[in-house]
Symmetry: C2
């Protein structure tokens, strides 16, 4: 099965299970919790969870899928709270939860999803010791995600963020939940520590690379392609890896911190391409993906391991 | 040991363990998470957790105390988020977290505490199956607490809340976390299902009774006694059990929904006492406590079970 087919199949499975668990929201609060969760999404974290599980032991992902769902539910919890903090009005083409239900209900809707995640892990058909380990990993991961979001917000007031600080931030904000997805799939399938560690590192790396690719897409992809405002990061003066790499080369993007015409966007892209900023950033993401894939060599060779490689390349090769 | 001594001793233990776990906050976000947690409090939930554990098996509370801490940490998570939603500026005599760090950091600070709670359960020295059960119970409880807070907020726009709705709200908002405290102590000490169920019901009942007593204290205790504004619930037109019971007797408190002089507060108290509103409300709380204590008869007779009785009476007999 190719990656695209696999992802499509997993998304269907995830959506079916979501519907079984939460398809009949009894309260207005449950509706608010469900809003974003039922608005689609590629379900990449459950897919990674499944691939990791089946790489450890073929077919093992079936009984533990509720724990894979926990990763999607946790992801949606963080999105709801992030949207409040960032004051974002739309997500996945729909009004955000706080826009529709108000901030107090949106805070609660996120909290409910967070709580549901741990109920879901308990529902997995796996040894209790593995479930305890998986729960602790998800909890520790959530602490790091919060730290990453806090770092990201603190960057807004600064123009001197280092590459190291940026990489630490994206690893926490985006990487560790992919790391946890892969590691939890492995843990619940009876993996040993070197296997769990390899999958955790793999997930963290491809998750961080995903975020770097997002920074590239924000600049390079037209609004028609991505469905988002082109060059919004530059307009807002965000400390992305592109801004940081440009600064290291003496290129100041501050003059572009304003509404930009299509011609001006072309101008800044040309500037950054000529100075090798874009290629260096792409190289950084590619190197992370390569290291991630190399780390998988401790795992048995199987179709799922191949799909893990494909997934890693997909993270940095997608155009939008 | 009498209850007062026991509570004081437990608070010291809890504070010591909190200090071991979180005494060296590395980040600004950890400081925000710690702020309220280290600002004191009676640590009633860990005390209940310990009493329940030791009633099941003498001495069993020692190794599982981290899970008792999880209840205090979860309680503080809900307080931080509630204070944002309610726009409250002070708590335990200190500025609230969002007042000091802003709302985005306060949302994250609460999320971090929520996550820490599940790390703490994993740290308990108990069989894995019990830890899975305890985690699932805490997670389910948190969903209910969120529902209770949502109900409480929805009552603000209504003047027709029934006694049944009120009791459902306080059971969720306050009761179930006491229920979980008692049940988790029991589960982690190897209790059987009837024992766990009895302690869960006991905790839910005394927690709800605690909230009813809070409503009485808000009206009856002077600001000097309670450290809070006297009669703030009536001033704000809150749907407390006092307002609901008064309405059932044809007494409309709406005219008192404004700043009240001490003489006017006396006037409304006299009105409610004469109409037996206060005594009926007190009877409701007392009946809940009596039922809670009766339910403990399935447990072995021991000093800790006696302290559970004393704790229940303390919840409704405290004057402030």
């Amino acid at each position: 099965m190719d990656l695209e087919t696999y992802l499509r199949k997993t998304a269907t499975e995830v959506n079916t299970l979501l519907d079984q668990y939460y398809g009949n929201p009894g309260t207005e609060l449950s509706k608010a919790s469900n809003h974003l969760l039922f608005a689609g999404g590629k379900r990449l974290r459950p897919a990674l969870f499944k691939l990791a599980a089946d790489t450890i032991r073929s077919g093992s992902s079936t009984g533990i899928l509720p724990a894979g769902l926990a990763l999607e539910v946790t992801h949606n919890f963080t999105l709801i709270h992030d949207d409040i903090m960032d004051g974002d009005a739309t997500r996945r083409g729909k009004p955000t939860v706080h826009t529709l239900w108000g901030e107090p209900a949106a805070i609660l809707a996120g909290d409910v999803l967070f709580a549901r995640s741990f109920c879901l892990i308990a529902d997995a058909m796996a040894p209790d010791a593995a479930k305890v380990e998986a729960s602790a990993m998800l909890a520790k991961t959530c602490v790091e995600i919060c730290e990453g979001q806090q770092q990201d917000m603190s960057f807004e007031d600064r123009q001197d963020v280092s590459l190291e600080e940026y990489l630490d931030m994206v690893t926490k904000k985006t990487g560790v939940l992919y790391g946890a997805a892969a590691a939890m799939g492995a843990i619940l399938s009876g993996a040993n520590k070197p296997q769990v560690d390899a999958l955790y590192s793999y997930g963290c790396s491809i998750g961080a690379a995903f975020q770097i690719q997002d920074d590239i897409i924000d600049l390079m992809a037209s609004s028609e392609q991505s469905g988002k405002d082109q060059a919004s990061d530059i307009r807002e003066g965000k400390q992305t890896i592109i801004a940081i790499t440009a600064r290291a080369k003496g290129i100041d993007l501050a003059p572009y911190r304003r509404v930009l015409s299509p011609a001006e966007i072309e101008e800044v892209i040309t500037l950054l391409v000529k100075a090798d900023v874009i290629s260096e950033v792409q190289d950084t993401a590619d190197a992370m993906v390569k290291r991630a894939i190399d780390g998988l060599s401790v795992l048995r060779d199987c179709p799922e391991r191949q799909l893990l490689s494909d997934l890693a390349y997909f993270f940095v090769q997608r155009g939008y």
